[in-house]
């Protein structure tokens, strides 16, 4: 009986792992050479990998041609050895790939936009870079219009042509500011927002009409990587907020009309291929619009792409909202937070965090889907390349050309994917329960 009685009197010491349980040799043995057939597999796979790697290096760096003025410089007849990549082609047409038919002496305009975009996004994307508090409102409130002005120059506003139009807008501007100041004095956020909102919109209108006094460059001159970036940046910038609004609308069971509208929009847009939406924007929109009102081709594509990805984004966000336990909503309610506060401070931060991978997937999909605008005649990166390789001066550049384009897409999409992983790690606040 008393045999089962046992009392531990000493503490066991903490020991390092035995030598064969750690280190690189152990890893090799466990993972690559644990049995004879695994060893064979390892050898064969290594051989294939090495062969692939060598071929790529050979194609891209060893037998490639770096300077060429036409396709003939990249022929074996001329170089005396079989030729891999013809980077000379990419070099010669590089500006076109980046800017399409944009006027050469105005390249500085998209370049400034690009620099502003990167400079504005970096502090927002990475905490380590200071200035987020300044950058975020600038990027939201000023950058879009500044870019339009830089890229396009002045935009014709028929409203501002007549004295009446100027008078009315000026009056509205003054009234807006007055209402805003009045609302602020009385701590009425609704009045403040409407007042300043109206004033801001009219300010933007005047600014776009002025367009920094630059020369107008019509949107049919946009192309190449620049156009791809414009489409995806606008698509991303619009689809996330619009998707969130649609997702919240879809869940607003106490407002059935709004709910139905959101459901209808999401389901309709998701049920139709993007190409169809682009075609509709191209050919059907004019039928619905009053005569004389005409949208720019690029604007139509932007609207189509943005609406399309918003519908997907809405469902992604709804998935995140669905995953938030009811208790979180209740705790927020019980503390007296109103709807907008509880969404903004409690629910959305958690819901969006959960669906970061899906949001980024949607972004990546959107980025690649922008290639479809070539169907309605916009010169995106891929179409620019296609045109370049069909020119008689550059025959047989398909390999180099498409691999170059593919690389650009790869770098951008891989970058987004890595950033999403970085974000997930950063926002991880410990232990899920």
């Amino acid at each position: 009986m008393s045999d089962i009685a046992y009392v531990k009197t000493e503490l066991s010491p903490t020991l390092p792992p035995p030598p064969n349980a750690a280190g690189p040799m152990k890893w090799l043995k466990d993972n690559l050479f644990s049995t004879w057939y695994e060893a064979i597999g390892t050898v064969v796979a290594s051989a294939i990998l090495i062969y692939l790697f060598m071929s790529i290096v050979d194609w891209a760096f060893v037998t490639s041609v770096w300077e060429a003025s036409s396709f003939e410089d990249c022929l074996e007849r001329y170089t005396g050895h079989p030729v891999g990549a013809c980077w000379g082609f990419v070099d010669a047409r590089f500006n076109q790939f980046m800017f399409g038919p944009y006027p050469t002496d105005s390249y500085w305009r998209p370049i400034i936009v690009g620099i502003l975009l990167v400079a504005g996004l970096l502090p927002i994307m990475f905490e380590q870079i200071p200035g987020r508090k300044i950058a975020a409102p600038l990027m939201l409130g000023i950058f879009p219009w500044l870019s339009v002005a830089l890229l396009h120059g002045p935009i014709e506003m028929t409203t501002l042509d007549s004295g009446l139009g100027i008078g009315v807008t000026a009056l509205l501007f003054v009234l807006g500011i007055a209402l805003g100041l009045y609302g602020r004095k009385n701590f009425n956020p609704g009045q403040t927002m409407i007042g300043f909102g109206v004033a801001y919109c009219i300010g933007v209108m005047y600014f776009l009409a002025w367009g920094l006094g630059l020369e107008t460059i019509a949107t049919n001159k946009y192309g190449g990587f620049m156009l791809t970036l414009i489409l995806s940046a606008v698509g991303i910038g619009v689809s996330l907020p619009l998707g969130i609004v649609l997702a919240l609308g879809r869940r607003a069971s106490n407002m059935p009309l709004i709910q139905m509208l959101c459901i209808g929009f999401i389901e309709l847009v998701r049920a139709v291929p993007l190409i169809t939406i682009l075609f509709m924007a191209q050919f059907m929109l004019p039928l619905f619009l009053p005569e004389g009102v005409d949208f720019d081709n690029l604007v139509r594509a932007l609207v189509g792409v943005s609406l399309f990805s918003s519908a997907y984004m809405a469902e992604v966000v709804r998935g995140g909202l669905q995953a938030i336990p009811k208790g979180q909503f209740e705790a927020a309610d019980a503390l007296g937070l109103n709807y907008s506060m509880s969404m903004r401070l409690i629910i959305l931060p958690q819901a969006l965090k959960i669906v970061i991978p899906n949001i980024v997937s949607t972004f990546i999909g959107l980025f690649k889907d922008t290639t479809l605008v070539s169907i309605i005649g916009l010169l995106d990166l891929l179409l620019t390349m296609k045109q370049a390789i069909t020119s008689t001066k550059w025959l047989g550049m398909e390999h180099t050309g498409y691999i170059f384009v593919g690389l650009i897409y790869l770098v951008c999409c891989f970058g987004m994917s890595r950033y999403s992983i970085y974000l997930e790690k950063k926002l991880h606040t410990g232990h899920k329960r």
Binding site: A331, L345, Q350, K432
Partner: protein, 257 residues
Amino acid sequence: MAEAAASAMDISDEVAIQISGMHKWYGDFHVLKDINLTVNRGERIVICGPSGSGKSTMIRCINRLEEHQQGSIVVDGIELTNDLKNIDSIRREVGMCFQHFNLFPHLTILENCVLAPIWVRKTPRKEAEETAMHFLEKVKIPEQALKYPGQLSGGQQQRVAIARSLCMNPRIMLFDEPTSALDPEMISEVLDTMIDLAESGMTMLCVTHEMGFARKVANRVIFMDGGEIIEQNEPEEFFNNPRSERTQLFLSQILAH
């Protein structure tokens, strides 16, 4: 000691909560039937009853987490209607602690505590943080202020949840089984916090099956079954001399082991 303190705590004549003729349905299901209850300021009420008897539903009606369909609920002189303004002002005055704590996992303990004061009461951040630290000290975990909820034990999380409610400076506190998701050794730390709170004169409504707690701090125990208030009495009388059969059965079941 606590008992002496409890009996010394004064209950004013001022009415804090007045529920009269309140009914609630979930679809066709009649969950709450003709609830009448008056709570005076400073009262500490324990609500018990079998599972599904509507205890949670009743106290959740008080801060409009659930909507009642008939009868009236008046909290602090404000009647609960569909008017969002009334609901918001009642929620500001009524704190609530849940069975599963419901802390906000993406915010630190301190941020959890200052969020509502800053956004709802428009307290300056510095002042809100001071108040938060004061209450975190009261619940004896000031050193955890910068951690995230996921890094705390259940008992600690529940104490944070209590501190978070107190930061809004509520006049009434509701508790829905605050200890029933906790391991036994953590229950007492949470109950101690609640006893302290009761001694400070807070009006409390507490759904719990901790009968020791009920005896110690409650001045009234309410027994619910089938969506009705079956019996209410002072704790001594309630436990020693239950009048209704259902109460006797219930007490015999929970005291059996």
